[in-house]
Amino acid sequence: METKIIELIGPGPHIHWGLPIVQDIFFTGISTGAFVLAALVYGFNNRRLAPLGRLALIVSLVSLLAALLNLIADLHQPGRFASLFWRMHATSPMTWGLFLLNAFLLLLAVQLFFVLRADFRGQARSEGDHRVVRLLALIGLPLALLVHAYSGYILGVVKAIPLWHSSILPLVFLAAALVSGLALMILLAGLLLRNQQGELPGDLLDSLSVLLAWALAANLVLRLFWYTIGMAYSTGPAREAALLLFGPSFSTATIVEITLGLVVPLIVMSLAPLRRLRPLFFGAALAATVGVWFFRWQLVMAGQLLPKTGAGFSHYEPSFWGSTGIMHVLGNFAFWILLMIVLTWILPWQEPQSSHDHALRTKGA
């Protein structure tokens, strides 16, 4: 079967979901992944991860905000984004997503407020606040999972696009979200966190890498199921879609995304001697993060390159300028960095020692 054919003569369909959608899914994934980390700290009192709790919340919040900006940019009439609130459609997953996203945003803000409130007052966190923080973490965990599963869901329901139309997609998305969230937190911990001796927090990084390894393994297993059952053993268009993934998109799909983004990091994260090689370790975390971005790109684009009419695949090259161009993506990353700098600047993002004790106490109690 010929897989390298690009449509030349037919008036090919346009790519409707472009870069902003890739970027949106990437950032909601990080938001979910980071929140899972925060929930482990505040909901399940994980002591080893505690120094990252506040940073994880901030990352989750900032990533969600950055993600939402993409959805606005993707509108041809961006001034209308708010009309989604009053033009509802009960059976549309997009309407459900609107509420999920906003509920999660609200929860993140409140959570952060209760986590930090005591610090602003210069006091230790009250029991009441602790309970609120814990409760919000426990509510937030399923909400965060739903927020990202929704991204997978909204692609999965598109039956016109065979590559997307799979019930396993939300699960694959969640696994990818955990990978990107955890890998990014490893990078941030390496950048920002030092223990009292001024060294990298080895225990913390070890804990994160084990979590990441599980996420990577889960990702690979789900991919195996998806690609084999959904594509290799299927017929018709889904098979064509798979061919696209492993044919013309071989370099991004197979090399960058699966090999460098999943397999290599899994090996590094699983083997302690490799983890000790810090450049390799952080390099692997970076590769996993970038790999997830490529996974998003791959899925959103490749799905749309299989035309409904036409004997060849469509061709897509993003423009540089414009509301959905490459500059938009750079602007979106810049927005994320900007918010990260500002929030880590003005907020006490480092967990005070007492909280660790509190976490210990609670666990002992």
Binding site: L8, G79, T235, F335, I341
Partner: protein, 1020 residues
């Protein structure tokens, strides 16, 4: 210190972030700053700038309210040759066409289509979203059909008669009056200051032979030739003028430049070289469709209906479609997964693939034995077969026998039934008349006694088997580039679906060996016996009588009607009956003739201009081209003919009737403007893929912006031929020209005098249609013609004609499509496994007889010599083929909406071929054939056979506005957009085995060979 540095770093990072964010989000912010609409506020909050709807339907009551500002006329699209029914939405105030969609009553626009007696208003309901009805009867026009209405308002349109100023093809014109036009073309004179030019009056002599030494050539009137385009509903009036009133045998449509090879192949298969019928699959029920050089859903005819039915069949998992084509077309579809298959093939070698399939099918007994054994009509009835073939009929094969190549008939055996064919009866094993046998032996190689003489005979199927076995599978495979296993797979798949497998071909057969390719493709259908079966092949549903002897008027007869006589200039005539042959035979060398003759061919447009320029078999004095463009559409003609055609000595008078100055009308001495699309009168019909009777009516839904005659008719083809005929005093025009059923004669002075009466025939055929209501006339705009209807037709006629006009024609009910497992409309002649007519004719250049069964030959020149021997693969390593798009026709480059979607073509090159020459997509390349050289943009793609270069048809114009012209001293500048891309026909070849001007042609039937042109490729 450290802290300060960190602060500075953070601040710098934040600022940079802010800056990049600002730049990246500027477009979004700009959009938001413009408020709710992010731009101009449209007319309507929800529907934007969309037109006001044609009608509204009250959701609760279902009441239909038509838009009072518009009418919706059902007419016919002429954007391509399909002629789909369209509904044309017209703004009453401005009398402009707003938009075009499908006619819901029309088989080519909707499936299912509306029952004919549905009222117009009920029809609106069926098209609407009311109860989701519109999804059922989704009457559509295609992309091209939507866009071609631009033609009506094209700034390059010719609106008044034009006369050339200065030499031919110099692009300078002078507007003249209609009266001057008629005066000059009829009476002649020194029209251009270049000396005397004979007018039509001088040419019109239907008694004096044009060459007394060669009386078979016919009268002088044959020195006027009329070239038309395709049968779009107006052609019969033009034919009436040229053939039976003026009396010239030289009248043709465009077939020789279109798909004549295919048509001739089918004609041979269907035993009808008069009507040239052809077959199409019953797309709604076919399970396996093998397309050889045709691409349903991408191009072909009827374009839209095929596409819809194919999509439906593939989506349902019923239909598997295979495309044998050097170029991957959009007949294939990624989304259809395994329901499609593309078989890349070397150009011009489809015949090898077909013969290999036939050999495998025959050797492995995969054919439908019971069907092929049926020897005649009676036996077919007994066997429950809706058709039969001559597979078992015996052919004389004794070398040198007087009957060699002929069927053994009753008369040869002294039977009472003289015309009966003979078979070897399956039961008795003895010779028997086909009319008496229930089943014949399929493979016969025997001797029988004829008039006391032992004569060797073979059955048709035996001859086919032997012909197919002339080469081995390996040889066939090597010739066509399709692997042996794949050929076997195709043959096995094709014979695994009973009667529901169909093989079809079309323009991809326009090769020098195209006739046998097409005959062979058709032959595959005989192997499964699918003719007239549901899911098999159909010769079409036919139509109600229109231009013939109808129930109201007789267009076949009129006082003074002339029977055209003589040899057509395209030499569709047996060479052995010519004076030339007799003279040469007397000298001992009857062959070769001075040029190729095509005894059973028809409508070879491609031979007209070359023959006229060569003066062989005789010169022309005048040429009228109407809506046709051979200079652009005929491969090789431009490079061969441009100089000679520009010299009036070779062809003294050229008149073009055309709405535009195209590549051919540029050579004219006079251009007569014409109506386009929905401005015209006409009675058309789909040419295939409809199973029920269909007549499409074209009537002016808006007034054309053309200059007018004194009696206020728009100046167009009809008004021109009527005025010219009247001035010449020709029969069949003017007063008392059209007889009715009672023998009364009616006048023909205006187009509607002719076409409304044709409509009356249609409306009254069988059970006459109902009478129209005033409401329907208003809704459809037919009321605009009320005065003409009443003036031309009788009181009981016009309400029925208006009823049909309101629906865009007359259409038989769809439930007549099938009778059980058979098609409702069935073809009645036997399939020709062996065609006697073909076998008993000879190549006029060599004297070699033609094969009576399909055969494989590589592409050849007219004398049968192999092209590759002269133009070797080494020197000309690539072969150019044309490929069609879903959007462009040869005449639609002026449509801005089409160019918006797809602005230009390029040359498609396989990556392996491109790599060797360092060519990448977008590079400029030069293609050089033995005849010409063109430059184009490379499109590197895997969707093409290696060694082949594909060029999409319809681009690379140098007429139709692509070149500047001066009209009445005013300059009309060239439009670069209309010149975009490249025209593959420029590369077409001359035939070095012929004398004078020639273009490469099908060896047997003479059609233009535009495929598989050898070229060199280089990067510029």
């Amino acid at each position: 210190m450290k802290k300060t540095r960190r602060t500075v770093l953070k601040a710098a990072g934040a600022l940079a972030g802010l800056g990049i964010f600002g730049v990246g989000y500027a477009p979004t912010l700009r959009g938001m700053s413009k408020g709710w609409w992010a731009g101009d506020k449209p007319i309507h909050n929800i529907y934007g700038n969309a037109l006001e709807p044609e009608w509204r339907i009250e959701p609760k009551t279902g009441e239909v309210t038509a838009n009072p500002n518009q009418y919706v006329a059902n007419s016919v699209c002429v954007g391509c040759v399909s002629l789909c029914g369209v509904r044309v939405r017209v703004d009453k105030k401005s009398e402009t066409v707003l938009r075009v969609a499908g006619n819901p009553y029309h088989v080519l626009a909707a499936d299912p289509f509306l029952p004919y007696d549905t009222s117009i208003k009920e029809g609106y309901k069926a098209l609407s979203g009311s109860r989701e009805a519109g999804l059922q009867v989704r009457a559509t026009a295609c992309g091209r059909g939507n866009a071609v209405l631009d033609k009506l308002y094209d700034p390059y349109r010719v609106l008044t008669p034009l006369k050339r100023v200065g030499p031919r093809n110099s692009g300078k014109w002078q507007p003249i009056s209609f009266e001057q036009l008629i005066e000059e073309v009829v009476e002649g004179g020194d029209l251009f200051g270049e000396g005397p030019v004979e007018g039509l009056r001088a040419i019109r002599d239907v008694t004096t032979p044009l060459d007394p030494a060669q009386p078979e050539l016919g009268p002088k009137s044959n020195q006027l030739a009329c070239l038309a385009g395709f049968k779009e509903g107006r052609l019969p009036l033009f034919a009436r003028f040229g053939k039976t009133s003026f009396g010239s045998v030289n009248f043709t449509g465009h077939r020789g430049n279109c798909g004549l090879s295919m048509r001739a192949g089918y004609a041979a298969f269907l035993d009808n070289f008069q009507g040239y019928p052809h077959l199409k699959p019953d797309f709604s029920n076919t399970e396996y469709l093998l397309n050889i050089g045709t691409a349903p859903a991408n191009a072909g005819n009827p374009f839209m209906r095929q596409g819809k039915l194919v999509a439906e069949g593939r989506a349902a998992g019923r239909l598997k479609m295979v495309m044998v084509d050097p170029v991957l077309t959009n007949a294939d579809s990624k989304a259809a997964g395994e329901q499609t298959q593309w078989v890349p093939i070397k150009p011009g070698t489809d015949g090898a693939l077909i013969m290999a399939m036939l050999a495998w099918i025959l050797e492995n007994k995969r054919y439908n034995e019971s069907f092929l054994s049926v020897p005649g009509k009676k036996a077919a009835e007994g066997a429950g077969e809706p058709s039969w073939s001559n597979a078992t009929h015996l052919v004389v094969v004794s070398e040198g026998h007087a009957l060699q190549g002929r069927f053994v008939r009753g008369t040869d055996l002294g039977l009472a039934d003289k015309e009966a064919f003979m078979v070897i009866d399956k039961n008795s094993g003895r010779p028997l008349a086909a009319t008496a046998s229930r089943a014949g032996r399929l493979f016969v190689d025997a001797t029988i006694t004829l008039a006391g003489q032992e004569v060797a005979v073979k059955s048709s199927l035996q001859l086919l088997l032997e012909e197919a076995q002339k080469h081995t599978l390996a040889q066939y495979s090597a010739a066509c580039g399709v692997a042996e296993e794949e050929i076997i797979e195709l043959a096995r798949d094709f014979t695994s679906h009973g009667r529901r497998a169909v093989a079809d071909c079309h323009g991809g057969t326009m090769h020098t060996n195209g006739f046998y390719t097409a005959y062979g493709a058709a032959m595959l259908n005989a192997m499964v016996g699918n003719l007239n079966w549901k899911g098999g092949t159909s010769a079409g549903g036919g139509r109600y009588p229109d231009f013939g002897a109808g129930p109201r008027y007789n267009f076949k007869k009129y006082p003074g009607k002339v029977k055209p006589q003589g040899v057509p200039i395209s030499r569709e005539f047996q060479y052995e009956k010519t004076t030339e042959f007799k003279e040469k035979k007397a000298k001992g060398t009857p062959y070769p003739a001075a040029g190729p003759w095509y005894p059973f061919s028809a409508a070879i447009q491609s031979e007209y201009i070359p023959s006229a320029l060569n003066g062989y078999p005789y010169p022309l004095k005048a040429l009228i081209m109407w809506n046709t463009n051979p200079i652009y559409g005929q491969a090789g003609l431009y490079s061969q003919a441009r100089e000679k055609l520009a010299d009036p000595k070779n062809l003294p008078l050229i008149i073009a009737i055309d709405p535009f100055i195209n590549e051919s009308s540029a050579f004219a001495d006079y251009i007569v403007p014409d109506t386009v699309l929905y401005e015209s009168w006409g009675a058309a019909w789909p040419w295939a893929a409809h199973l029920t009777k269909t007549n499409s009516m074209r009537w002016p839904v808006v007034e054309p912006p053309l200059a007018r005659t004194k009696d206020n008719s728009p100046i167009c083809m009809e008004s021109f031929v009527i005025a010219a005929a009247k001035r010449l005093g020709l029969p069949g025009f003017g007063a008392k020209a059209i007889p009715d059923g009672a023998g009364n004669l009616h006048d023909l002075n205006r187009p509607e005098d002719f076409f409304l009466r044709v409509f009356a025939n249609i409306a009254f055929a069988g059970k006459p249609v109902a009478d129209v209501s005033a409401e329907e006339m208003a809704l459809t705009g037919v009321e605009r013609h009320l005065a003409s209807l009443k003036a031309v037709l009788q009181a009981e006629e016009w309400p029925k004609v208006a009823y049909a006009m309101a629906r865009g024609g007359r259409f038989e009910e769809q439930n007549k499509s099938y009778e059980g497992d058979w098609l409702g409309a069935r073809y009645g002649k036997p399939l020709q496994i062996y065609n006697e007519t073909v076998a008993t004719n000879k190549n006029s250049l060599t004297g070699a007889p033609f094969s009576g069964v399909p055969t494989w030959m590589p592409p050849v020149f007219a004398d049968g010599s192999v092209i590759a021997d002269m133009y070797s693969d080494k020197e000309w390593p690539f072969q150019v083929v044309s490929t069609k798009s879903q959007l462009q026709s040869s005449h639609t480059i002026g449509e801005a909406r089409l160019r918006q979607i797809h602005a230009r073509n390029g040359v498609i090159i396989h990556p392996d071929d491109a790599q060797g020459k360092g060519i990448r997509s977008g590079d400029r390349v030069r293609l050089t054939s033995p005849a010409a050289s063109v430059e184009a943009v490379a499109l590197v793609n895997h969707g093409i056979q290696r060694g082949v270069i594909g060029i999409e048809h319809g681009f690379g114009h140098w007429g139709l506005g692509a070149a500047g012209v001066v009209v009445g001293g005013k300059k009309r500048p060239a439009s670069q957009a209309r010149a975009a891309g490249v025209a593959h026909n420029l590369l077409g070849l001359a035939d070095p085995s012929r004398q004078g001007v020639s273009t490469l042609a099908d060896m047997v039937v003479g059609s233009n060979a535009r495929q598989g042109i050898g070229v060199k490729l280089e990067k510029v």
